[in-house]
Amino acid sequence: MSQYGFYFDKEKCVGCRACEVACQVWNEAVQTVKWRNVTCLTRGTYPEVAGVNASLACMHCAESPCKKACPRTAISKNEETGAVTVDRTRCVGCMLCLWTCPFGAPQMGEMGRMEKCTFCEERPVGVIKRACEEICPQQAIVSGTIEELILRSKQVAAERLSWDARTEVVLGHEEE
């Protein structure tokens, strides 16, 4: 059972929302509300302004809180790919899953049931990119097995520390 998931690089994302629309176009038949959402934030006063953009759909967590919080046990985890998906026939749209999801991924669909990113189930995992990853002009979204993604985030950090004089600690690699 290999766990797949998304890796999102905030330094590359410019908040253009192409991933949102690509997800809508690819899942047109089953999607009534946007599964992937980009948040663009700016803080501070001119000219000391800091901005960041984050494109978040489901992170397909290993021990997904939404799966445990659902009173109808409608959310299940795919064994091979680790993709967390919702079963529409069981879901009643009570949105307890959204209350517990740390990333705010579940969306309330127009059909009265919860809809969420299905990690592009149709697309063979590990063979081709997900719809949002394929469209992202900056290639800020990367999908793959967790080991690959963590290795990648370490490589990016190492590569950055090699030339960046300021030894800024990169998120999550404190213990290395």
Partner: protein, 697 residues
């Protein structure tokens, strides 16, 4: 399992067929792939063989809607006496237009036809029909509203109209008023720049507004609007003073370095002087100048932020001069003088058939001999007063000057005064509503195109029709063919399918036609430092920092910083109006798009929170923005990213839109506020020479 391309895998999943195409939303023409299944476009993405790989920007991916949009133009229309557009047949439309064109040519000469287009590759047919056969010299793109100054500055410095950027190998990138991460999305360049930055490339952005690119930059210089020229000259002063330019390169390849240095030093363009004007500390200017001179390879480029001011042309000439004197030109990681692929014209027209126009292009008569494109904002005055010579026929193809040019009232008068006005578009745009004939064009999914794309090296895109044209719309080449037959030039347009002229176009490409058709794109080899082999096509055979072309035409050969034409905010009009673009929209075609209108439906005036507090206005309130010329009511958006004293308004919205169920009635048309101001040399529209006052509505 053979190494299946991702196309085949997706076709396997969805049972679709892949048809290579091209995206027609913005000037970048990214090669694309359309996935078609029984007459419907299921999915679109970038072409995996092209430089942008499978990526596409938000406007591109959402343009799938225009292949199914029921609000598109579906049949030819003619405006009746009551001013209402009625449906007419193709035959009647083409016969009447051809008759009128012949009558106008006999009476006023071929020069009285002006044909404006945005960027469609099928303009080759316009050039051949209206240019070679009909004989009009006034065929022009939308350069005046876009990058006219940049093209002229590049022509005068490198004798190349359109330098592009090789970010992948660059170590230092400085962008003046350009926002590739924001509205002017340049697909593969964005990815290359970000990957280069990950490898340590420095990004410096000069922009009064905290744009998306400024967000990612290492250094952001929040300059006062319109004063980029002073900063560029100050950097040049620093580099020339410390002699940190590339001496060997300059001796061999640069003309006029001595005059340039003497000019910069004697006129006192010191960083201290620039600090007062631009508001950027002189230490920062010196640090940036030294870092630019020291890091190789580096590149500097500027775009919309500069060209919207009358000082823009000289600023860009200085920026390009800085590239040249530090030897950063046409090498890996520099500005690349793009090499075009050997594309021919689609039709063979023998020399003697072509009619040579007697009168010069209208731009000469208007006093802008060096203007690369016709200054469309001065066209209304020229038409109404028959200024250089009478213009009786206007032909618009996929461009909407009624919406995008300043001083809309004058434009409306022109459209009423002119004898024949024809618009070819896929939507009933504002220009179409004002013109007599409206011909529906097939969208990019329903027509073929052979075109050069904007990758640094030679790259040809062969787009093919994926679905049948909607309603009675026709591809542009069919319209031109119909018109040509009615005008008696049918002999040259004797082809039955688009493949015939596509083969003649791509005859000289080294790739076989079948392979190009299957892949959809051909990429030649990106050659660096082409001047070593091919030389520099300027009159002096060198890159010209002292421009002989300008000298001949009586303009100042060296870039200066004069603000005599600048319109500065004053007491009763305290705000500088900046005409900007939105990241999620690009012109008329995205206005009726449900995906984009869901993200941002209407335009807004963006002002700094301090100004909003002073005006006692909150986010979302309606305010009245008034320039000495006109006024408009629009919603406010307070933001920390905008410089106090500046009001940013995205153009391209509103005008009491009537053409689409989603676009109808949304947005505010801001262009009437801008006066008709042109850059004295290039004739480019200086939108931002405009001061406004904002009051609570």
């Amino acid at each position: 399992m053979s190494q299946q391309t991702t196309r085949e895998i997706i076709n396997g999943i969805r049972g679709t067929k892949t048809v290579p195409g091209v995206c027609m939303i913005c000037p970048w023409h990214c090669p694309t792939e359309n996935f078609v299944k029984d007459g419907r476009i299921e999915y679109v993405r970038g072409n995996e063989y092209a430089a942008n790989r499978t990526t596409r920007c938000v406007k591109g991916i959402s343009s799938i809607h225009s292949s199914r949009d029921k609000d598109r133009l579906l049949y030819p229309m003619k405006r009746n006496s009551a001013g209402v557009h009625e449906r007419i047949s193709w035959d009647q439309a083409l016969t009447e237009i051809a008759g009128r064109l012949k009558k106008i040519k006999d009476e006023f000469g071929p020069e009285s036809l002006v044909s404006l287009f945005h960027l469609d590759s099928n303009e080759m047919f316009t050039h051949q029909l209206f240019g070679h056969l009909y004989g009009s010299p006034n065929l022009s793109g939308h350069g005046a509203a876009c990058d006219q100054d940049r093209r002229l500055a590049a022509l005068s410095t490198f004798a190349h109209p359109l330098p592009v950027k090789d970010y992948a190998n660059s170590r230092f990138v400085m962008l003046w008023g350009a926002d590739p991460f924001g509205p002017n999305e340049a697909l593969h360049e964005n990815r290359e720049l970000l990957e280069a930055m990950k490898r340590g490339c420095r990004l410096i952005v000069v922009d009064p507004n905290r744009s998306r690119t400024a967000e990612k930059a290492h250094i952001w210089l929040p300059i006062k609007p319109g004063t980029d020229g002073a900063l560029a000259l100050a950097i040049a002063h620093r580099i020339v003073e410390t002699q940190s330019y590339d001496k060997s390169f300059c001796d061999e390849w640069v003309h006029g370095l001595a005059e340039f240095s003497e000019h910069v030093l004697s006129n006192g363009y010191t960083p201290q002087w620039a600090e007062g004007i631009t508001g950027i500390a002189k230490e920062t200017i010196i640090a940036v100048a030294d870092e630019f001179a020291a890091t190789k390879p580096a590149l500097m480029d500027g775009l919309k932020g500069l060209v919207n001011y009358t000082t823009g042309l000289d600023a860009l000439r200085t920026v390009f001069a800085l590239n040249v004197i530090t030897g950063n030109i046409d090498g890996p990681g520099n500005l690349i003088l793009k090499e075009m692929s050997p594309l021919g014209f689609p039709l063979e027209i023998p020399e003697e058939e072509a009619t040579i126009p007697e009168k010069p292009p209208i731009a000469y008569g208007m006093g802008y001999p060096l203007a690369p494109d016709l200054p469309t904002q001065l066209l209304p005055k020229a038409v109404l007063e028959d200024d250089p010579y009478p213009v009786k026929a206007l032909f618009f193809h996929v461009c909407n000057p009624a919406m995008s040019d300043p001083n809309t009232r004058l434009f409306e008068k022109m459209m009423a005064a002119v004898e024949l006005s024809v618009t070819v578009d896929i939507y009933m745009s504002e220009t179409a509503q004002l013109s007599e004939y409206v011909l529906p064009e097939a969208s990019t999914y329903e027509r073929a195109e052979v075109r050069e794309s904007m990758w640094a090296g030679p790259q040809t895109v062969l787009a093919q029709p994926a679905i049948a044209p909607l309603g009675e719309s026709r591809p542009y080449y069919e319209i031109i063919k119909g018109l040509a037959e009615k005008m008696g030039y049918g002999a040259y347009f004797a082809w039955d399918s688009w493949e015939d002229w596509a083969r003649t176009c791509t005859a000289y490409l080294p790739v076989p036609y079948e392979e190009l058709k299957e892949k959809g794109v051909w990429e030649g080899e990106l050659r660096y430092r082409k001047y070593n082999t091919d030389g520099v096509p300027t009159s002096t055979g060198k890159f010209e920092v002292y421009s002989t072309m300008f000298e001949e035409m009586g303009y100042h050969p060296l870039p200066v910083f004069n603000e005599e034409h600048r319109v500065k905010p004053d007491a009763d009009y305290p705000f500088q109006l900046v005409n900007c673009k939105m990241q999620y929209h690009c012109g008329t075609h995205t206005q009726n798009n449900p995906y984009l209108m869901a993200i941002v439906g209407e335009n807004y005036v963006e002002i700094n929170s301090l100004d909003a507090a002073r005006l006692d206005v909150r986010e979302g309130d309606l305010v009245e923005v008034a320039s000495p010329h006109a006024r408009a009511t629009i919603r406010v958006r307070t933001s920390e990213a905008v410089q106090p004293g500046v009001a940013r308004v995205p153009h391209g919205h509103g005008f009491g839109r009537r053409f689409g169920s989603i676009a109808r009635g949304r947005g505010t048309h801001i262009n009437p506020l801008f006066e008709t101001r042109a850059n004295p040399v290039s004739g480019g529209i200086s939108f931002n020479e405009c001061k406004v006052k904002i009051t609570k509505a």
